[in-house]
């Protein structure tokens, strides 16, 4: 019965023109970008080197907060910050104001921290500012490509699991492994690395609708 009700919901969404489907005016307003620009932005965030000051170890708005870093530590990669959208420039401005570097969801929603999360990172690489989209509604601005995902994905496409995580695809390796860039909570920062397909079982490949191919 639940299955049928969920199908009924899909049907109602279809009939009502649900926002999960591309609205032409939204797509028309998307900034256009090239794959080379996407990768350049992705690498800039992953390669950004910063120094954690003593004032960036504490979050003034949370007594429970614990920093991932040490005072004076040099780090490569903008730190992971749940709900964050900061590129290198905004991140540095916030660091200089004494905001805490990075945060995880276990500390709750914090406004006194700086950094970027997985979907914020993808939006930034696509040239979008803010956090209007998350893994749950990324489909509004990104479509599922019809080509073979294991051979024909292009750098700048993403692998998305709604409600969970999203990574930027950067290329294939000769052994069949894949290169990705991601804002990683477990690594506390934006990183680019090689990984395996098994990690992405259940993810959906998506292609930004503002790409100029």
């Amino acid at each position: 019965m639940l299955f049928r009700l969920s199908l009924l919901w899909v049907w109602i969404c279809l009939a009502a023109g649900s926002p999960i489907h591309a609205q032409p005016e939204v797509i028309a307003r998307l900034p256009h970008t090239t794959r080379a620009e996407i990768l350049a932005r992705a690498r800039k965030v992953a390669n950004h080197t910063w120094t954690c000051g003593a004032s960036n170890l504490r979050a003034s708005c949370s007594s429970r907060y614990q920093s991932d870093w040490k005072a004076g530590q040099r780090v490569t990669g903008v730190p992971y910050c749940w709900g964050g959208t900061d590129g290198p420039e905004d991140f540095e401005k916030k660091l200089s104001k004494g905001l805490a570097a990075g945060a995880h969801s276990r500390y709750g929603v914090l406004k006194c921290t700086a950094g970027i999360d997985c979907s914020g990172y993808i939006l930034l690489t696509w040239g979008l500012s803010g956090h209007a989209y998350s893994t749950s509604n990324l489909r509004i601005i990104a479509g599922k490509p019809k080509y073979n995902w294991f051979t024909d994905m292009k750098p700048g496409d993403v692998l998305n699991k709604p409600g969970s995580h999203v990574v930027l695809f950067t290329g294939y390796y000769p052994d069949g492994g894949i290169g990705v860039c991601e804002a990683s909570g477990s690594q506390s920062r934006v990183v680019c690395h090689k990984t395996t397909w098994s990690r992405f079982k259940g993810y959906i490949p998506l292609q930004y609708k503002g790409i100029d191919d």
């Binding site: 299955f3 049928r4 199908l7 009924l8 049907w11 279809l14 009939a15 023109g17 489907h21 591309a22 032409p24 429970r64 614990q66 991932d68 870093w69 780090v75 490569t76 749940w82 709900g83 995880h104 969801s105 276990r106 500390y107 709750g108 999360d117 997985c118 979907s119 998350s134 893994t135 749950s136 019809k146 080509y147 073979n148 995902w149 294991f150 051979t151 409600g163 969970s164 995580h165 999203v166 000769p174 052994d175 069949g176 492994g177 909570g185 477990s186 690594q187 506390s188 920062r189 990183v191 395996t196 397909w197 098994s198 990690r199 992405f200 079982k201 259940g202 993810y203 959906i204 490949p205």
Partner: protein, 291 residues
């Protein structure tokens, strides 16, 4: 986007309500999974937002996990290795430590290493290489847990592998002991499946090589659909064991997923309630290939 016409929608609506989709077979039957020979289960403790501070000092026998949230993956133990006496070392990144368990999964001890680790590798000289998750730096520890800051080391890389087609590939085998090494050709011919990746997990002194293969039954379906298998090849290139369809529904994505030790294949597989180490004995008849 054009909306479906009214007649079409009504047809679709009644079609849905009268269908029995959940019980219907929609594709070919899936290949059977190879059940592990043995499973070690280690308890985990989930951090709540109320107790994030001070939790690092709690009972170290239970590994810590952070459940994550919308747009944040769960975090916790994602690296492991098997030591010479078959005991296990597992990263406990939220406690800035690594924990040691005997071959039955009983907690032995923990090293407070002072950083969050996401990969641990035991090397032949007895040292343990531990990678710092937040910097990527590899730290060298001796068998007693003393850090050797003067020693520099890199985590050994897997020998080169190459996909040649959807049914074949090659992996490079290093010279080990009396085995000369050389190229191993992999053939993967399963109807409806396409080979997508290869990884050499290791070659032993007899020349037996363990290879992880990823395959897919569909490259354009609803979502990424992959299966993972581990094969043991003899020095002369014959398949002598195969573990089919490893579980892949990880709660925490592993960095060190598979290890091979004394013909046993170990898999780190974290669930919401425990960290499992799935173990397959490739000497056992269940996994010996009849080909």
């Amino acid at each position: 986007m054009a909306r479906p016409s009214g007649i079409f929608l009504i047809f679709l609506f009644f079609g849905f309500l009268t269908s029995d989709a959940p019980g219907r077979q929609t594709g070919p039957p899936r290949d059977a999974s190879s059940a592990p020979t043995r499973v070690i289960k280690i308890p985990v403790r989930a951090i709540t937002t109320q107790e994030v501070s001070g939790i690092a000092n709690t009972d170290t026998a239970a590994l810590l996990v952070s459940p994550g949230a919308e747009d944040e993956l769960p975090e916790g133990p994602n690296g492991f290795d098997v030591l010479g006496d078959d005991s296990l070392v597992i990263t406990d990144p939220l406690r800035n430590s690594v924990s040691f368990f005997d071959s039955q999964g009983k907690f032995r001890s923990a090293w407070k290493i002072g950083f969050s680790a996401d990969s641990v590798t035991a090397v032949p000289n007895g040292n343990i290489l531990i990678r710092e998750a937040r910097t990527g730096q590899v730290h060298v520890f001796d068998a007693k847990g003393q850090e050797r800051p003067e020693e520099r080391a890199e985590i050994p890389k897997s020998p080169e592998a190459k996909i040649l087609s959807g049914t074949s590939g090659t992996v490079q085998r290093p010279a080990v002991g009396g085995f000369q090494g050389g190229l191993l050709t992999i053939q993967f011919e399963k109807p409806g499946s396409t080979l997508v990746s290869l990884e050499n997990l290791g070659t032993d002194s007899e020349g037996d090589t363990y290879v992880a293969l990823e395959a897919t039954t569909g490259a354009t379906g609803d979502d990424i659909n992959v299966s993972k298998h581990v094969r043991r090849y003899s020095a002369d290139g014959k398949i002598i064991a195969e573990i089919a369809n490893l579980p892949l529904d990880y709660y925490i994505p592993p960095v060190n997923e598979l290890r091979v030790h004394r013909a046993l294949v170990y898999q780190l597989f974290a669930t919401k309630s425990e960290v499992r180490i799935n173990i397959w004995n490739t000497n056992q008849r269940d996994f010996r290939s009849l080909r």
